[in-house]
């Protein structure tokens, strides 16, 4: 499944990070790498973007990006 489909409050392990170019590089640089554990904390009031926690900090990305990240739920 993708990170976008992950329910609020649940955690998963990233398997692959899709996308390309600057965007993908940014996701990887921010620590969204394969094998990392990430959980979804919240969805923004207007339904997008989403709030994640990983590596001890809080990150927000848009659904569009979350859709490109494959995860394995824990």
């Amino acid at each position: 499944m993708t990170l976008e489909e992950l329910a609020v409050g649940s955690a998963a392990v990233v398997t692959t990070v899709g996308g390309q170019g600057a965007l993908r590089k940014r996701l990887l640089d921010m620590g969204l790498t394969p094998k990392v554990t990430v959980s979804v904390r919240k969805i923004a009031p207007m339904g997008d973007p989403i709030e994640l926690t990983l590596r001890g900090y809080t990150l927000t990305i848009r659904r569009e990006e979350a859709r490109k990240i494959e995860v394995r739920p824990l």
Partner: protein, 672 residues
């Protein structure tokens, strides 16, 4: 002893600015990096006057994608810093050290500053500094920038490292296939890297990531590129990940191991837990938007309704006193009336109009610094992102655009906090379409004259009309000048922290100084020019009747441009020209030229324009180029007159077209 230059670098929100302020106090100079509008802050260290610190933009990685990353990289590679001070947030160490691993490859003496150690300790955490030093091969100094703890030790360790030219003792953090690939690549490009003055190891890592800039800056030949590709494909096959992911994975795997050995972290810190609680309200489904608008309304009320006018009235009284004294003195010295008018109505009025922006700017930036430094601005971006995405911007642009409704000058200056140069430039282009508060007197007089029963409705239409044109213009920009991939909206939500008064005050001071220095000349000269045009005819004889002035002649010349818009009278054109010095001037000019007192103006206007002409005039006034103070800000933030002039031309063009559409459309509907 020789002067030392240090580069200060770190992630956004890690306390870099606080540390920079602690180090340099008010000995700062803010400029731009060459060719881009990315802040370059420089300052001398208070306790070591022979040490200069350059504050590089906050970045997460030395990737080649944003202007911020590129200028940081260029400065580190070619700016010859004697040392690097890498500041990291010790409460989110894993992500922060990612940049560190890239920095040590640069072969520059580097010191790691572990910031926010007070928070780590208060939370029962522990970092084995000695072990981390041994592992990373660079000096590690625990500090708390906001409490000024450890900063002096950081300075002395950094200076010692730079004087002794102590290079990082370790650059190798990789294992397995990635290790093999990087070593082969290092070998392959060693000579080319030396020729290009780029550390071979850094070059190899960047090539291994598939960095498009690096292969070009090394001038690799076709066969070298071929071999490189071969090495990388082999690595990808063996590692089971593509090159970008493999390199990021390699660094993070090392960092995880390092943190497991040296860091004791008993869960989230107090500040992080508190932030989660605060966000349960501030970014909640129901309260987020009302609270945000509540905060903005409060800021607007305080800035434009309370503190701004209060400061302004004090300043005006002071200025009046000076003007009175000056005028008396000029009379006493027997200065002739024209020169007296030049000094008082030209020069002094110019100074006063520059200063009149100051209270707003200072007050607004006080609040903006609070929003930014507390961490709330990132939440605003989170909440409003969806609204701005359609026009190719992110939620980060929301606050600057909103401030545009108050005054374009601080709004344009506020775009500095946007994370990317592209977003900054695009936001600046859209800001002037948000109707600023100086246009309110114009709307007020016109609606009173033409639509006394529907004043609020007409004003709302104007405000929303401006926003609508801004949105359409944004869509146009997104598909033309700003085409291509926008910078991704991948944003950290930092923990809420109390802003440090020192940082807030310095920020206010910096913005005020910036505005005064940069805008003074432009606004001052513009006021003098307008005064000259108003007071003389072409023979430079002083005129009593303003219809014979140069301004009137020039306006008569440009008036035909407005014929298709329905108002060809030179007096309307004159009002628009004087409106460039400040938009309120449109009203005062019209009342002078129509020979009206303040009370009679609406009546006279009703005879001067038809309602449709008035709407067309209002539309043009709403959208045409901003005042000179805003232009000065645009010039500064867009990095030159060329960009500023193009913005002026585009906005005036848009205004002309929309007013044409309104007037001719109205006529077709039989409203004229």
């Amino acid at each position: 002893m020789k002067e030392l230059t240090f580069a200060l670098i770190g992630n956004p929100n890690c306390g870099k600015t606080t540390l920079f302020n602690q180090l340099t106090g008010s000995n700062q100079h803010v400029g731009n990096f060459p060719g881009v509008t990315v802040d370059k802050k420089e300052g001398r260290v208070r306790s070591h006057p022979d040490v200069v610190v350059v504050d590089l933009p906050g970045i997460y990685s030395l990737s080649p994608y944003t202007a911020e990353e590129v200028v940081s990289r260029d400065f580190l590679l070619h700016g010859n810093p004697a040392g690097v001070i890498n500041i990291v947030d010790a409460t989110t160490l894993e992500r922060n050290l990612y940049l560190t691993l890239q920095l040590v490859e640069l072969r520059i003496p580097t010191v790691l500053a572990l910031n926010m150690m007070d928070e780590v300790r208060a939370n029962g955490g522990y970092i084995d500094v000695a072990a981390m030093e041994a592992e990373l091969g660079i000096p590690v100094v625990p500090i708390s920038a906001s409490k000024n703890e450890g900063v002096e030790e950081l300075c002395s360790r950094a200076i010692r490292a730079a004087r002794e030219k102590a290079l990082p003792r370790r650059v190798d953090f990789c294992t397995g296939e990635v290790h093999r690939a990087i070593h082969s690549i290092t070998h392959l490009v060693e000579q080319k890297a030396e020729l290009a003055a780029i550390p071979a190891r850094f070059a190899a890592s960047k090539l291994a990531e598939g960095d498009p800039l690096m292969a070009d800056s090394l001038h690799l030949t076709e066969s070298e590129r071929h071999l490189l590709e071969h090495l990388l494909s082999e690595m990808e096959a063996a590692h089971g990940m593509d090159r970008e992911a493999a390199m990021a994975d390699m660094r993070y795997t090392y960092i995880e191991k390092l943190c497991a050995q040296t860091v004791v972290r008993p869960g989230d810190t107090k500040e992080q837990l508190r932030s989660v609680e605060i966000d349960k309200v501030l970014t909640s489904k129901f309260w987020a938007i009302p609270i945000f608008f509540g905060i903005m309304v409060t800021i607007f009320f305080l800035t434009f309704g309370l503190i701004g006018p209060f400061l302004n009235s004090i300043m005006e009284e002071a200025l009046d006193l000076v003007a009175l004294g000056l005028s008396g003195a000029l009379v006493r010295w027997g200065v002739n009336p024209t020169l007296r008018s030049l000094v008082l109505d030209g020069a002094f009025a110019g100074v006063a109009s520059v200063l009149s922006f100051l209270p707003t700017i200072v007050t607004l930036f006080f609040f903006l610094s609070l929003l930014e430094d507390s961490g709330y601005m990132a939440r605003v971006a989170f909440v409003t992102d969806r609204l701005l995405r359609r026009i190719g911007l992110s939620g980060r642009s929301f606050v600057p655009l909103l401030i545009g409704f108050g005054c374009s000058v601080p709004a344009i200056m506020a775009t500095r906090t946007l994370a990317s140069e592209r977003d900054r430039k695009m936001t600046i282009r859209l800001t002037p379409f948000m109707s600023c508060s100086a246009k309110l007197p114009i709307y007020s007089v016109f609606t009173l004259a033409f639509f006394p029963k529907h004043r609020a409705l007409v004003m709302c239409c104007l405000y929303f009309g401006g926003m609508l044109v801004g949105i359409l213009y944004g869509l146009l920009l997104k598909n033309t000048a700003f085409k291509g991939n926008p910078i991704p909206f991948v944003m950290e939500l930092p923990a809420y922290r109390l802003p440090s008064p020192k940082s807030v005050l310095l920020h206010m001071w910096e913005k005020a100084k910036d505005f005064l220095v940069k805008a003074f000349t432009i606004i001052f000269v513009a006021s003098l020019v307008v005064w000259c045009l108003q007071s003389f005819d072409f023979g430079f004889n002083p005129v009593d009747d303003s219809s014979r002035s140069m301004l009137a002649s020039v306006s008569r010349l440009i008036a035909p441009i407005f014929i298709p818009l329905g108002f060809s009278d030179w007096r309307a054109a004159t009002a628009l020209v004087t409106g460039l010095s400040a938009k309120e001037a449109v009203v005062s000019t019209l009342s002078v030229l129509l020979g009206a007192g303040d009370a009679e103006l609406p009546t006279l206007l009703a005879g001067f324009f038809t309602p449709l002409q008035a709407v067309s005039f209002l539309t043009f006034t709403l959208l045409y180029m901003p005042c000179v103070a805003a232009m000065a800000a645009v010039k500064r933030e867009m990095g030159g007159w060329k960009a500023a002039v193009s913005l002026m031309a585009q906005q005036t063009g848009v205004a002309w077209l929309v007013a044409l559409f309104v007037y001719q459309g109205g006529r077709l509907l039989g409203l004229g």
